[in-house]
């Protein structure tokens, strides 16, 4: 997975970190100190499977079916998260109890094209 620089062209991961102290959320979130809300951006090539000459893949089969049925396959693929991990949190809820939970799939680790 590529990491985005200032100029973004192809699909990459943009790091984005929010410190809870900066938004006064450290009053109720005990841990962690911030949230890596990374996201994916950038262009992706047309679906490789749609390119002529690639005949022996599952995707190629699907695409040939789509073509046969007149469905436009000249669409670009998408830049999406390919790896994510949970965010472990300890926070006060509205009854001043402390809650610890692992929220699945909250942090994007890497991006790629579909």
């Amino acid at each position: 997975s590529l990491r985005c620089g200032d100029e973004v062209t192809v699909c990459c991961k943009r790091d984005f970190y929010i410190k809870f102290k900066d938004i006064q959320w450290d009053e109720w979130i005990i841990a962690p100190e911030g949230y890596h809300m990374n996201y994916c951006m950038g262009q992706c090539p047309q679906h490789l499977a749609g390119s002529p000459g690639i005949a022996s893949s599952f995707h190629a089969t699907v695409f040939s079916q789509l073509k046969v049925n007149g469905i436009n396959t000249a669409t670009a693929s998408c830049c999406i998260p390919t790896e994510r991990r949970p965010l472990s949190m300890v926070y006060f809820n509205s009854q001043h109890s402390i809650v610890k939970t692992d929220v699945p799939d909250m942090i994007v680790e890497s991006c790629g094209c579909t």
Partner: protein, 242 residues
């Protein structure tokens, strides 16, 4: 609309004109806030009006078996594997008052719970943590009977209460003791009530070794730990329809 657009190159994914940097950052922060609240099933950020003494908080978090506390007091979260149906561990501090019940001063603990409509909680495990002081009388037996009662009535303590748990404590030294209350908590939550009132009695002579003094021993505030999972009542109805 209304966003100031800079002359910088267009958005690499969507082709729209790029936003001003601070406008984009503000928007991203709002998205992050909404995402976190949604994932934690919270409608808005909790407003913390009464703070728990930090030392009591750290003691309780140390008991949460999957968290470690660094020297500087910050919490190191263990990368535990996510539970598919997102379990929770809850530490709840009680409102405390000592009451005069039939058998001298019992420690009276009141826990408050608020369940969301349509979502009920399944208690996987729960225990009450009580700090018992050591016996002052060296000649006394160092084992003491501790009892936990469920009080049905909030005002008149001791009038209508049910024995929930009793066990022998070793009181040679002051220490923490746990009392499993999984079934009690599950029954209470299933009843849809909001206040769970427990009374703890560890009587030695005229003293309750389990009493708590908020001003002198902040670190030893009694609390409850519970491992719970959200049950989605709505799906239950669907099943019935089928």
């Amino acid at each position: 609309k209304g966003l100031r657009v800079s002359g910088s190159p267009a958005c690499a994914s969507c082709g729209l004109p790029a936003m001003e940097k601070d406008a984009e950052e503000k928007m991203m922060i709002e998205i992050a806030k909404q995402q976190l609240l949604e994932k934690l099933h919270l409608k808005e950020r909790p407003n913390i009006t009464q703070t728990v003494p930090k030392v009591a908080l750290l003691t309780a978090l140390r008991k949460l078996h999957s968290g470690r506390v660094r020297q500087d007091g910050t919490l190191e979260l263990e990368n535990s594997l996510p539970t598919k149906d997102q379990g929770y561990e809850i530490v709840s501090f009680a409102d405390i008052n000592d009451s005069d019940s039939g058998d001298k001063a019992s420690l009276s603990l009141t826990f408050q719970f608020l369940q969301e409509q349509g979502k009920s909680i399944q208690v996987l495990q729960s225990s009450l943590w009580i700090y018992a002081k050591s016996s002052e009388d060296p000649h006394r037996n160092t084992r003491l009977l501790a009892r936990v009662f469920l009080s049905a009535d909030e005002e008149t303590s001791g009038s209508n209460r049910t024995l929930v748990k009793e066990k022998m404590l070793e009181v040679k030294e002051s220490n923490w003791h746990t009392f499993p209350i999984t079934h009690t908590l599950q029954t209470f939550l299933d009843g849809g009530q909001r206040r769970l009132r427990l009374e703890v009695s560890c009587i030695e002579g005229e003293r309750n070794l389990c009493s708590f003094n908020g001003s002198t021993d902040k670190a030893n505030q009694p609390f409850m730990v519970a491992q719970v999972r959200l049950r989605d009542d709505h799906s239950k109805h669907l099943i019935r329809k089928r």
